[in-house]
Point group: C2
Chain length 372, copies 2
Amino acid sequence: MNKSAFSKRVAALRERLKKLPCDTVWIIQPENRRYLSGFKAEDAQLTELSGSLLINKTQAVLVTDSRYSLEAEKEAIDFEVHTIKQDLIEGFPEKLKRIGTEKLGFEEDHLTWGLHRQLTEALGALSPPVSLKPLKGLVEEMREIKDNLEVKALEASADLMSEILDTVIRGLKPGLTEREVAWQIEALAREAGAESLAFPSIVASGPNSALPHAVPTDRTLKTKEPIILDVGVRLDTYRSDMTRTVFLGEPEPDLKNIYMTVRQAQLAALKEVRPGVDSCHPDAIARQIINDAGFGEYFGHGLGHGVGLATHERPRLAPQKPVKLKKGMVVTVEPGIYVPGKGGVRLEEMVVIEADGPRILTKNNHFYDFKS
Amino acid sequence: MNKSAFSKRVAALRERLKKLPCDTVWIIQPENRRYLSGFKAEDAQLTELSGSLLINKTQAVLVTDSRYSLEAEKEAIDFEVHTIKQDLIEGFPEKLKRIGTEKLGFEEDHLTWGLHRQLTEALGALSPPVSLKPLKGLVEEMREIKDNLEVKALEASADLMSEILDTVIRGLKPGLTEREVAWQIEALAREAGAESLAFPSIVASGPNSALPHAVPTDRTLKTKEPIILDVGVRLDTYRSDMTRTVFLGEPEPDLKNIYMTVRQAQLAALKEVRPGVDSCHPDAIARQIINDAGFGEYFGHGLGHGVGLATHERPRLAPQKPVKLKKGMVVTVEPGIYVPGKGGVRLEEMVVIEADGPRILTKNNHFYDFKS
């Protein structure tokens, strides 16, 4: 990340600010903070912010407490760092007065009701009073389109995850437990420099593979059963997300059929992930193929979702609330079929949408081409 | 955890409910959910709950979506599990009507302003309408006093952390980086069965030890310098928290003096952590010793905090907002001195308050007894 990337983002926010019912935007959501400023600190808990951004027409300030001020100075190079007491209610109102705020826009999906109440009191008591204005999805919407630096960061994250998954899949054998495999993935990720996993790995074998959000258990891997590995890392705060379903030994025909149905649905949907298409369209294509094969009731989730600083972000590739897909979006394409008692198959790629279609970021395929 | 522990907690909540301005309590905070029900799932993000509890005079319901319903059935054995759509606004109001809610108490420090707004609309449209009532610290206050099962769980967590830290300290040598040591701690914790660290480990050497919340860097350990290790694990969802400051080779006299001042402050404060004492008193005792030694300005944080399902919970051992210490509280005692440029020393024990005083849960001391 260089200085200009953050400056551009702040400039884009200021463009949006012109149309908002506030003169200052207050950013407390950790990924939004990171996106606009470069400040990477996380919050110990919801009621314990490591910092927040105040951005108005001319000023860009990062407000933090002494625990984080050194890190803030180093990371948020375009921001003025102001250190206040840890308790927001103490130093914060004064800070707002100093930068001339009268109407403060806040992130309604991140500020708690209780802190809003406390701030309403504290800010109302100022003279002149400062009022609070709710904002919804302001920075999240900006984050939909990735700039070149972000695409590179996501590519690096997907590369690392692909390599690790390749190593892990090659080492799978009957007798290993799901939990052991999950820990291998995490240890390799951390040793390779990832800050953390992007989310707790799913390693689900046999009947567990029929649970879309299975938690790894002490169940041992067995031959011929599906093993779903849904994994991602966080590398320089950017996330990856990919899924493979593998078999140790050739599966029964009905599982082969499920597998190839999912794979066909994925390949067909991938072709439709291009600029100008409605986000519900690739989902509909995949769903149609799965329906036609008689598995419609076993594909209970959406086709995919945006990935970036968060594992789940905009846009969603799902039947509801379609948006137009655009160049620079990074999304997953992950159809699945889950038959209770029998098992499940999910296949997930992470792609960046380019002018002429999707470029797949996840590698080391480990896909099967079963002949029926 | 057995059934009766959770039943008792729900019964205690119902006692409190009698005095609250609501007929149903809605619990969304993950540690509070775990405390009352046993349900261990975490939330993928703030706007993506894995479940919530509804408790009234006669009913105890865990509302979740299909991703978590199996886990909920298994873990929350005293609760009726109701599965609704993932989007809270869709199925939730109907659920409230069914259990007869008219006034719903919500956790004001966890519910976002935006979700509160949406719910206010959706619940106001019901007939009769359901109104929302803010609750602050209701379950957090109950969690202050640990029952026997919780003390055992915290003891197991502190035991595991003590063992791991012992191994790691014995293996320290010049040339290892802070980051390598931090990763050793995490890998040992996970391999021993911890779900995760309780918080990102602090491994801070030389000048970094003067930053109370240092993040591990690529700096290599050197002889004679302080190395602060502030670490904890999460074992069966219960946390530990302990700090040692170690030296590779004998330090200079001024660092020995700082060390012994912190240690004396800690030992003196520990004696005062007993039932009936104000929570500010042990802090004052430690602070006096550090002041008298001329380091008052370098002890910038409070003496300690409660530990349990969260790393930082009630009560705080600090100068502000004193409460009476009680039997069954589990707290840290962690004075420190941080001299910019020179280095810092922090020593932290985790103790349970028993009838006749503190019992220290953290082990393998690695304390020095420098003679002046």
